[in-house]
């Protein structure tokens, strides 16, 4: 049997020869990540299932208001924020943290420092979240969007987060690799920005509420920045890592990376108040946010050029790599949702789409189309490496991808259109309000259908994961399905 490094160079002609001892370090890093990353990832995916169930209930209630209506804890005004908080803080944040931990370890070339710390953090996060979501259903929702979990739950989450942040700083200090890759800039930024956002929101909205509409300003500064300064950097970091990694080519341009990062850092955080266009805020606050939203064209186009030109000419690799499929879909959705967001911020367009279902479609294109797809792609890459097991079922991967892709298209396109029609009708005062409501019904029903497709995809993915994890506890077996690089390693072939 040829040595691993020779085998490797035989497989990848033209690539840089790698010292097998460096590979051994990677294996060690992956093994050290196993428990904490898996804890975050598995918790995150369980919350995804819960969030998907809540999403279906919410979606059905919106077009069939009598559905499950006699129970107070399931009333629409409670399941809707329960769904939001479950998917943002339960699924997206935890999966995001799991992916962040692995990426940081790999990029800093440091095995996982203090895994116990991160595992405790994950435990606290789940406890805090459970308390919070149950609190919302029981009636203690704060009715502050993106911050609905009651005050008694948030300190628990904050403790957990503090542990993660401390871990990140330690790992960064211990890094072996001096050059900082672009993903690390984004990850560090996300880890430092999030606690600042959260603390400000907690203090100025819940602990010592500001007066009147200042609350609205802080609320939307916070909520938009959770999207832009927490989820977006993690998602972009993952895309910047996985696209070049999987196709084996460098990122298009370092200078674009720098420009993209700093323009995002400077402009994104000023966007928040475009959620209040037409509202009871002084004109300058809205104008400033609109300007910042349009300036977002700079980071969005530079990142789009970087990602898409790196992919250019390599689209056939999408067939073999689920990682690439999901991550590239996520990158395309990032560009799409950002352009849609820039358009929506103009006063003339906001006049039509504000207060309509168009906003919901936009939010899902961003959080689901971009962030969730990138997370799925990342997990397809990370999980086999930290568990040393391959994905058992190609079929489930296909169901996952197609369920999510078709569900996403069926969700976003009709509801965006439906929202625009709703807004146009609402802006015509001679159209009675009830007629506006009736007009939205078919779009809402299509959305439930889309939700069923998404749910199917999620169930397929979790089933595949559970199957894989079941194998972790068993003795190592030759994988039933050769994995999808399209190459069978000589070591496996013939056995």
């Amino acid at each position: 049997m040829s040595s691993p490094s020779k085998t490797f160079s035989a497989l990848m002609p033209g690539d840089l020869p790698e010292d097998s001892s460096k590979r051994a370090l990677l294996a060690e890093i992956d093994a050290s990540c196993r428990v904490p990353v898996l804890f975050f990832v598995v918790s995150g995916l369980l919350w995804l299932l819960a969030g998907t169930a809540l999403a279906l209930v919410t979606s059905i209630k919106l077009h069939s208001p009598g559905f499950l209506a006699s129970w107070e804890f399931l009333t629409f005004g409670r399941v809707r924020p329960a769904h939001l908080n479950t998917v943002i803080y339960g699924f997206a944040s935890q999966t995001g943290i799991g992916v962040t931990l692995w990426l940081m370890c790999r990029l800093c070339r440091v095995p996982f420092v203090a895994p116990g710390l991160a595992t405790v953090a994950a435990l606290f996060w789940n406890i805090g979240l459970t308390v919070g979501v149950v609190g919302i259903l029981m009636g203690d929702s704060t009715s502050i969007e993106w911050l609905e979990m009651p005050r008694y739950a948030t300190p628990i989450l904050f403790v957990s987060y503090a542990l993660v942040a401390v871990w990140a700083v330690i790992t960064f200090r211990l890094r072996q690799e001096r050059q900082l890759y672009v993903s690390q800039w984004y990850l560090l930024a996300a880890l430092l920005w999030f606690p600042w956002l959260y603390a400000t929101a907690q203090i100025m909205l819940l602990i010592d509420p500001a007066r009147g509409v200042v609350q609205a300003a802080v609320n939307w500064w916070f909520a938009h920045n959770v999207l832009g300064l927490w989820f977006t950097p993690i998602g972009l970091a993952a895309i910047y890592y996985f696209i070049p990694k999987v196709i084996g080519r460098p990122i298009h341009s370092y200078y674009l990376s720098v420009l993209g990062f700093w323009s995002l850092a400077l402009f994104y955080n000023w966007n928040g108040l475009h959620h209040l266009t037409g509202g009871p805020m002084p004109a300058w606050m809205i104008t400033v946010s609109i300007v910042a939203s349009v300036m977002m064209l700079i980071p969005v186009t530079t990142v789009a050029i970087n990602h898409h030109l790196t992919m250019w000419g390599h689209f056939e690799k999408l067939r073999h790599s689920p990682t690439l499929r999901f991550v590239v879909l996520g990158a395309v959705c990032y560009t799409a949702t950002s352009l849609q967001g820039v358009a929506n911020s103009f006063r003339g367009i906001s006049e039509v789409v504000h207060f309509t279902h168009h906003t919901i479609a936009h939010a899902h294109l961003g959080l689901y189309g971009f962030f969730t797809m990138v997370m799925f792609g990342s997990l397809y890459y990370i999980v086999p490496r930290i568990t040393q097991r391959e994905w058992p079922s190609l079929g489930l991967i296909s169901i996952h991808f197609w369920g999510c892709f078709l569900g996403l298209v069926l969700y976003v396109a009709p509801l965006s259109l439906g929202g625009i029609l709703q807004g146009l009708a609402m802006n015509d005062a001679s159209v009675p309000f009830m007629k506006v409501v009736e007009g939205t019904l078919p779009w809402l029903q299509i959305r439930t259908l889309a939700g069923l497709l998404l749910a199917l995809g999620h169930v397929a993915f979790v089933a595949n994961l559970v199957w894989l994890l079941a194998r972790v506890f068993g003795p190592y077996r030759k994988p039933v399905v050769a994995i999808l690089t399209g190459i069978e390693t000589p070591a496996i072939a013939g056995k």
Binding site: L26, P280, A283, T485, I492
Partner: protein
């Protein structure tokens, strides 16, 4: 986790082995068009900020502050076809204030809110009773189209102006098969002035004493209450009672 007994070490690490090297950044130079694009955006940003910031004032809510718009005037009569405009406004006012109870089809809700379609109260030859109901509200038992209703309708004297009341009543008197004379703003003005001193909702009994049509109806208040008589009555109150009355009235 597998007790270290597997023998195929390379196969176990297949994922690591087939992995490509970590990503690096290429050094494509920055395209000049990107710079041009950024410059253009910055220029736009500057001009937009200058025009629409309302002077960065905390009390300027309209973005077009340099030439602030005068306080908006409600869309008045005149211009194109006044009758069509009036009908349109009547429909909108109905949909905003009345449809919630009387329903968009004018049939009301059985046992709760009386119908307007085919109602004898609506189809009376003049608007004297209808205008009073809209101005001050209605409470207590009332018979409409043979059905009994006993609910409370709130007063709209402060929510609607005379033109809106005239237009909505014209709309009601001419929809859902109703056919009756239109109501003019002048008639509403006259009735509002006549009933200026009235507080509290009307009852069906009181209204039936007023003729449905004919001139500026007499106020149906108890006794005859001229402004002079009102002044005399008020002078007789103690300062405390007067204060209480004023507070009550100005709610």
């Amino acid at each position: 986790m597998d007790r270290g007994e597997a023998t195929d070490v390379t196969a176990m690490h297949a994922a690591i082995v087939r992995e490509r090297p970590d990503p690096v950044e290429g050094h494509e130079p920055l395209n000049l068009w990107v710079v041009v694009f950024i410059a253009g955006l910055l220029f736009w940003a500057g001009s937009y900020l200058t025009q629409y910031s309302g002077g960065f004032r905390s009390d300027e809510f309209s973005e077009a502050q340099i030439n602030p718009a005068p306080p908006p005037v409600e869309a008045g009569g005149g211009a194109d076809d006044p009758a069509a405009k009036a009908a349109k406004e009547g429909a909108i006012v109905f949909s905003t204030y009345c449809a919630a109870c009387h329903q968009a089809d004018g049939n009301g809700v059985a046992g709760q809110f009386p119908p307007l379609a085919g109602s004898e109260w609506v189809l009376a030859d003049g608007p004297n009773r209808m205008v009073r109901i809209v101005l001050n509200g209605l409470k207590g038992p009332i018979k409409v189209k043979g059905g009994d209703y006993n609910n409370q309708m709130n007063a709209f004297r402060d929510s609607m102006d005379d033109r809106q009341i005239a237009n909505v009543l014209t709309y009601v008197r001419n929809s859902w098969g109703n056919k009756a004379s239109p109501v003019t703003a002048a008639e509403v003005v006259a009735i509002r002035t006549a009933e200026a001193a009235r507080t509290g909702e009307w009852t069906a009994e009181e209204l039936e004493k007023i003729p449905a049509s004919g001139g500026t109806a007499e106020p149906a208040a108890v006794g005859t209450l001229t402004p002079e008589a009102l002044k005399e009555a008020l002078k007789k109150l103690s300062p405390d009672d007067l204060k209480a009355l004023l507070q009550d009235v100005s709610k």
